[in-house]
């Protein structure tokens, strides 16, 4: 963990983790606890500042919020200790900081809105307690994910289910009558009496699981070159089919819902997964071309898209138009007023911006904490994303890499879409800031996301059972470790859609325990045989080389868990 952001790759460098003797590597839970304590200090100071600047006495509310916060993250920490002890130690503290600052901002905007409500003689009840409640629920989900999904690869078993449920969740609000699905013009809600959810937030993760799994099983197809045009190898048209259909359906639903933010996010993540799975940039080029065409089409077809673009080009110009740039302009006013240093927490007017505590919460942070605060938040997001990406790099199985990388990218991409919209970098689209914004769906979904990232990073660093003989490791299998990853959990053998595996070559008999081989989790990896076969030199990718060439020592490091399992298991 000596490397700053984890970009450096999956292999642990120093002797600290090299453990020939077989002792367990440091879990680094202590670091996590320390960082969590630091996050708690930040939250407490922030709450005190808010109350001080709002010229209020230090209220009991602070104590209450502080205790709730401590309890939540103490529970999360203990859960990680128990069920994912080797997980990345910075992921949870990053979440704690973001969630804490978000809570403070929501509380702070509550105060302002309450003051305004008293002035006009209306009743007002703050949403901060609800956010705490949502965080508790999110924690419950977080624990549920950590305890039930002991190995992320089990998820591949449910990939088609996940894809189907994801699509249904995505489509549901668009199909349901507006009365129970539309809020502020966006049909993305399902209202249940006293609370409402945005199923799209969950669909995001479910579809990601589906796509990652799907791509793992089909990735050979996508790497098969089609015709060469102008020296560029195009993918075969029929291979494009499923992905175009899936992406098209999702985008269609998003357009119907008039909510472009998730569409942008979703499309970006699909492209990224395709690129990582195939290692061919042509997919990105094709995707971006499609995206460009889609943008032009959407712009010519939909007036609300034109309005958004006009608001983006000059929000001050369309300030007074209905649906015009008022909101973005107010955000910019807030950011400008905040300047570099900010007005101070509790001393600004973040509530002036509509949706201040949800989509536009970053504008409030930029106003009260200034550029410094905004930059700090963005850096925390980046850190969180990079730690997630680090786990993805370190984990040995392809599905884990794709899922972890996808989740990490989705998080940063979402931040880019919302922060870019607020700061007029890109047109504003309705989307929340993960962990900061008020909103149950966003919190619940993002805690699931983080639980998965923790699970993957835990898998990446978890030491192998020490009984394992130091088998005659050959470099080649290690190098292609990701392609050989098998060891579906024992139950994995049955019921999986193994038929999707692209006709893998018959497995060497010594590996083919009936329980381990054609399981769904293994379908993709084993299917990678063509690549292996085609490039026996195992130079498939430098990264693989890096992972694999570590000689025996690398194998001995804690970071080489699952991939080689098939080898020694024999």
């Amino acid at each position: 963990m000596n490397r700053p952001l984890g970009l450096a790759g999956g292999r642990e460098p120093g002797a600290a983790t090299t453990n020939p003797g077989g002792a367990a590597p440091a879990t680094r839970r202590g670091t996590e606890l320390l960082m969590l304590a630091f996050a708690a200090v930040i939250l407490t100071s922030a709450l005190v500042l808010v109350d001080a600047n709002q010229e209020q006495e230090l209220t009991l509310a602070i104590v209450w919020y502080g205790l709730a916060y401590l309890a939540i993250f103490a529970a999360a920490h203990l859960a990680v200790r128990r069920w994912a002890p080797y997980a990345d130690p910075l992921i949870l503290p990053c979440v704690a900081v973001l969630n804490g600052i978000g809570l403070v901002m929501i509380y702070r905007i509550d105060l302002a809105l309450a003051e305004r409500a008293t002035q006009v003689g209306r009743d007002f009840s703050g949403v901060a307690p609800r956010q705490v409640m949502w965080t508790v629920l999110a924690l419950a989900l977080f624990l549920a994910v950590l305890t039930t999904i002991k190995d992320h690869r089990t998820l591949t078993r449910y990939s088609y289910t996940a894809g189907l449920v994801g699509l249904v969740l995505l489509a549901l609000p668009a199909v349901l009558p507006s009365a129970i699905s539309e809020v502020n013009g966006a049909k993305v809600w399902i209202k249940f009496g006293f609370f409402s959810l945005q199923p799209g937030e969950f669909a995001k993760i479910l579809l990601l699981i589906f796509f990652a799994s799907f791509l793992v099983s089909k990735r050979d197809l996508f790497t098969v070159a089609g015709k060469r045009v102008f020296g560029v190898e195009l993918p075969r048209a029929r291979d494009l089919g499923p992905i175009i259909i899936a992406a098209g359906v999702c985008l269609g639903i998003f357009v119907l819902q008039k909510d472009l933010g998730p569409a942008l996010l979703f499309f970006g993540v699909v492209l990224m997964l395709l690129y990582v799975a195939t290692e061919r940039f042509i997919w990105v080029a094709v995707g971006l071309t499609m995206f460009g065409a889609g943008c032009v089409l959407a712009y010519t077809l939909f007036t609300h898209v034109q309005q958004r673009v006009a608001n983006w080009i000059d929000p001050l110009e369309t300030y007074d138009d209905p649906g015009g740039g008022y909101q973005v302009a107010q955000a910019l006013f807030g950011l400008g007023t905040g300047g570099v240093m900010g007005t101070g927490l509790g001393a600004g007017r973040p509530e002036t911006v509509p949706e201040a505590n949800t989509d536009f919460i970053l504008a409030g942070i930029g106003e009260e904490l200034g550029f410094i605060g905004l930059a700090a938040m963005l850096m925390v997001y980046l850190l969180l994303g990079m730690r997630g990406m680090r786990g993805a790099l370190a984990v040995r199985d392809t599905f884990g890499k794709l899922l972890g990388g996808g989740l990490a990218f989705a998080l940063v991409m979402q931040v880019f879409v919302v922060a870019g919209g607020i700061t007029k970098l890109i047109p504003m689209t309705g989307i929340t800031s993960p962990f900061l914004s008020y909103g149950g769906s966003s919190l619940l979904a993002n805690y699931i996301l983080v639980a998965l990232l923790l699970r993957i990073s835990d898998a990446a660093r978890r030491p192998q059972p020490q009984s394992r003989p130091r088998a005659q490791q050959q470099q080649a299998p290690i190098a292609e470790a990701h392609t050989v990853m098998v060891q579906a959990p024992s139950a994995g053998g049955v019921g999986g859609p193994g038929g999707h595996a692209p006709a893998p070559p018959p497995p060497p008999p010594n590996r083919s325990g009936p329980a381990t081989y054609p399981g769904p989790g293994s379908s993709g990896p084993t299917g990678s045989a063509p690549a292996n076969g085609g490039q026996p030199g195992s130079a498939a990718s430098p990264a693989n080389g890096a992972n694999g060439t570590g000689s025996t020592e690398s194998d001995n490091t804690t970071d080489s868990p699952q991939g080689t399992e098939g080898e020694w298991k024999a």
């Binding site: 290692e279 007017r349 790099l393 392809t398 990218f409 940063v412 880019f416 990264a543």
Partner: protein, 497 residues
Amino acid sequence: MNTPLRRVGLTMLAMVVLLLANATYIQVVKAEDYRSDSRNQRQLLYEYGRERGQIVSQFGGTILAQSSKTDDRLQFLRKYRNGPMYAPVTGYYSWRYGSAGIERERNDILTGEDARLFVRKLSDLITGRDPRGGHVQVTIDPTVQQAAYEAMTSRGFTGSVVALKPDTGEILGMVSTPSYDTNKLASHDGKKQERAWASWNCAPSAPSCNHNNPMRNRAIQETYPPGSTFKLVVTAAALEAGMTADTPVESASNIPLPGTTGVTLENFAGATCPGSTLEQALAYSCNTAFAKLADELGAQKLRATARKFGIGMDDLQIPLDVEESHLGPLDSSAVLYQSGIGQRDVRLTPLQDALLSATIANDGVAMKPQLVKELLAPDLSTLEEFEPEELAEEPAFSEQNVEVLTQMMIASEANTSGEGKRSDLTIASKTGTAEHGADPKNTPPHAWYTAFAPADDPKVAVAVIVESGGDRGLAATGGTVAAAIGRLTINAALGEG
């Protein structure tokens, strides 16, 4: 698969860097634009969220403007004592329409933003008190202001009255009529502000428009032809050029304008001047005499003397911006003839006209007019006190001519009609009846009166202008229309109103 993952990681990094760069642009480069955008209410809410300082009179501490706490979103409401009467002084403070007057020019003090208040603000932060703004003490004498304002409005006159303290330049009264209620613009109700603003700012040509620019501060923003009051400047220049009160001057009822055929310049009502000396010419306000005098003195001497009275200063601030008073291009004898009687392109603000009398009253030394006496911190300690300041480098005329001019003005007052004369008070004055408009002979003239008193120990100098004849139409003269108002103002200033 790790290579593309690393590239994706780099992409994530690039996205965040892009966000940071853009945030820098928004929050550093463009910050000031966004901060000061009129639609950005944050500054406003901040300003209204703290107690704005008071505007008080130096006389008895009469409060002209103060902020009081309210229950609505803008926490403090600005309230003006007798808004229309003091409007030219205080100005207004509106969240829709900005501000004017002292409210605008001394905003830093009133909001507490002034650097001199900063140390106090820091201590406020520690002690936790509400940060308040400082106060501005103005030179206005409420008695004078009220007398002048009521004298103008009770007669329904459009115009202005200015009263100065000759030896310091302190402005005791500054009235502009018709006026407007500053309280309506300070209202927190935007609609109310809008209606008020619209009713005072319609185009005068519009049929439904029944006002006469009430928001214009005529005392300092409007220039008028000074008419005969300008003869004081010509007389001073003549005395400086070596003439005396007894120097014989032109007395013909009319004289031809040089360089023209058949165009003449004539005395008031076409009368022959009853006297033939300089003193008598001023006392009877003989046009032909001053037309010729101006030509004889020439543009250079006229300008030099005018400058010493303050005419031609384009950067005078009291601290409100004062429109430049000027003589126009004095480029021919004909122009000099007409300029010598305060017509043609000669234009003075009412403040400048009061300054003519004040300069004579102060032995030829023009004092810089000042509206602010003191700047005070929230705890009423003095931040800055204003010292009297001379406007020109040297006196407008020598000491021996002070008495001569004063006597001439006393003689002029004796020839002036109008109400309000008192046997126990000697006033030195000069009236003016200034033609204006496209058809000067058939347009009711502006009536002027400028004076100081008591003549032997001047305590106050005033100027009155009543636009377009007041209630007398074409027959109006400075004496019949403006003099009475000037005398009322003088009486109020001397405490014997």
